[in-house]
């Protein structure tokens, strides 16, 4: 089964996203912030997909994205921001830092699925 990671400081959001990805056929690992994610990533097999919140304590999603994209082993990992940031500048900034897609909260399962379909990663 394909592996995914959800990074969000809200446990409710982590749960909802994990459930959605589970329904789309993923096994999901969860992390509370960027630093927690980097730590967990170093101990697990490489996921196919990472969903990343922006505003989080310790290490925010943007910092995580920059860091993860500087590590060649994560080149092929699809990274999608899922955040309350809704300004064009933020979307642009995330894309320039290597995000493959961007979802604005609130989201639904359809929204996640439609975005993943664009990346060739829809329901499997």
């Amino acid at each position: 089964m394909a592996l995914a990671m959800v990074i969000d400081d809200s446990s409710a959001t982590r749960m909802i996203l994990a459930r959605i990805l589970g329904e789309l056929g993923y096994t999901v690992e969860k992390a509370e912030n960027g630093a927690d994610a980097l730590h967990k990533l170093s101990k697990m097999s490489r996921p196919e997909l990472i969903l990343i919140d922006w505003n989080m304590p310790v290490m925010n999603g943007y910092e995580f994205l920059v860091k993860a994209r500087s590590m060649p082993e994560y080149d092929d990992v699809t990274m999608m921001m899922v955040t309350t940031e809704t300004e064009i500048e933020q979307v642009l900034k995330a894309l320039e830092a290597g995000a493959n897609e961007y979802v604005m909260k609130p989201f639904t399962k359809d929204i996640i699925d439609e975005k993943l379909s664009l990346l060739g990663l829809g329901a499997r």
Partner: protein, 299 residues
């Protein structure tokens, strides 16, 4: 209050006659939930009262009639819906038209049943992104829908956050949209590619330009076989010979029309109008570089 079977039958007939949409008795919950807000808007205290108002003037041109008919349409749509039709457009259909019509340099695409315009603007973005050679062509994306409100929305090209979240690749959002408050407006060079008008697919058709490609997606499902037949017959006449028809995921020409060939391409398919022999290909220009489909499925 529940809808009486008499009122349901009257409404179902009205909706069938005005929009061709078929409402089977199991749809009574849908009719009620869609008509309750209409009843409130026209000052009726119940659906029964709404139906009496409609009985007094049962035409789609009356205020109540048009509101009832519009309320029974399903406008669900999103950008790059189902993805694959837009892949085919990019990798096969547009390159073919470009090859064939290099001499007269006109491209006509029809988004029949356009809803709020996401389909038409997805087409426009494919053209802008991948076919710069079309910038000196006359490109028309004709958008029609039975719902005046939807046609207006298509013309405006303004979308909510939820709508731009759905199916729209983020790189295209930042490139082709501007944010105004909580809404997103598509840029003028895309809205200018789009022509809109109200049109009932099941009624008399206005004069339409000869179409190279027709998107008729997720609307035939609402109609009965006879209506589907007559619409596909007319679509075939509007298409240039060899023109392409794209239907929704659960729709087919099979057992409805013999005027189309189903063409499989990659992991998907489209329908091609048999419409007699293909016109001769335009003479190839020596200077033109052949179209090479971009790699990957990204837009």
């Amino acid at each position: 209050m529940a809808l009486s079977s008499n009122d349901f039958t009257f409404l179902a007939n009205f909706v069938k006659n005005t929009t061709a949409i078929v409402l089977t008795p199991d749809k009574d919950y849908l009719v009620e939930s869609r008509l309750n807000p209409v009843a409130r808007r026209v000052g009726a205290t119940s659906i029964t009262e709404l139906v009496s108002k409609l009985r007094a003037n049962p035409t789609i041109n009356s205020e109540v009639g048009s509101m009832v008919a519009e309320a029974m349409t399903t406008n669900e749509t999103y950008f790059f819906r189902d993805v694959k039709p837009f892949d085919v457009l990019k990798s096969e259909l547009l390159p073919k038209v470009i090859e064939r019509k290099g001499a007269d340099r006109t491209l006509n695409i029809w988004s029949a049943a356009c809803s709020s315009g996401q389909e038409a603007y997805s087409i426009a973005m494919v053209i802008k992104e991948h076919f710069p050679m079309l910038s000196n062509w006359r490109v028309r994306i004709v958008c029609t829908d039975i719902s005046r409100a939807m046609v207006e929305r298509t013309k405006e090209g303004i979308f909510s956050q939820i709508e731009i979240n759905r199916g729209l690749p983020a790189p295209l959002l930042v490139k082709y949209f501007t944010k105004a408050g909580s809404e997103w407006k598509i840029k003028a060079d895309l809205t200018s590619m789009v022509e809109t008008s109200v049109m009932n697919l099941a009624g008399n058709w206005p004069m339409l330009p000869r179409m190279d490609i027709v998107f008729l997606r997720n609307v035939l499902i609402y109609f009965d076989l006879q209506t589907k037949r007559s619409i596909l017959e007319k679509v075939n006449k509007v298409l240039v010979p060899g023109g392409a028809l794209l239907l929704g995921g659960s729709e087919t020409t099979m057992n409805v029309s013999n005027d189309f060939d189903r063409i499989t391409t990659g992991s998907t398919f489209y329908y091609k109008s048999k419409g007699g022999p293909m016109p001769p290909a335009a003479p190839t220009q020596v200077t033109r570089t052949p179209y090479v489909a971009p790699r990957g499925s990204g837009y």
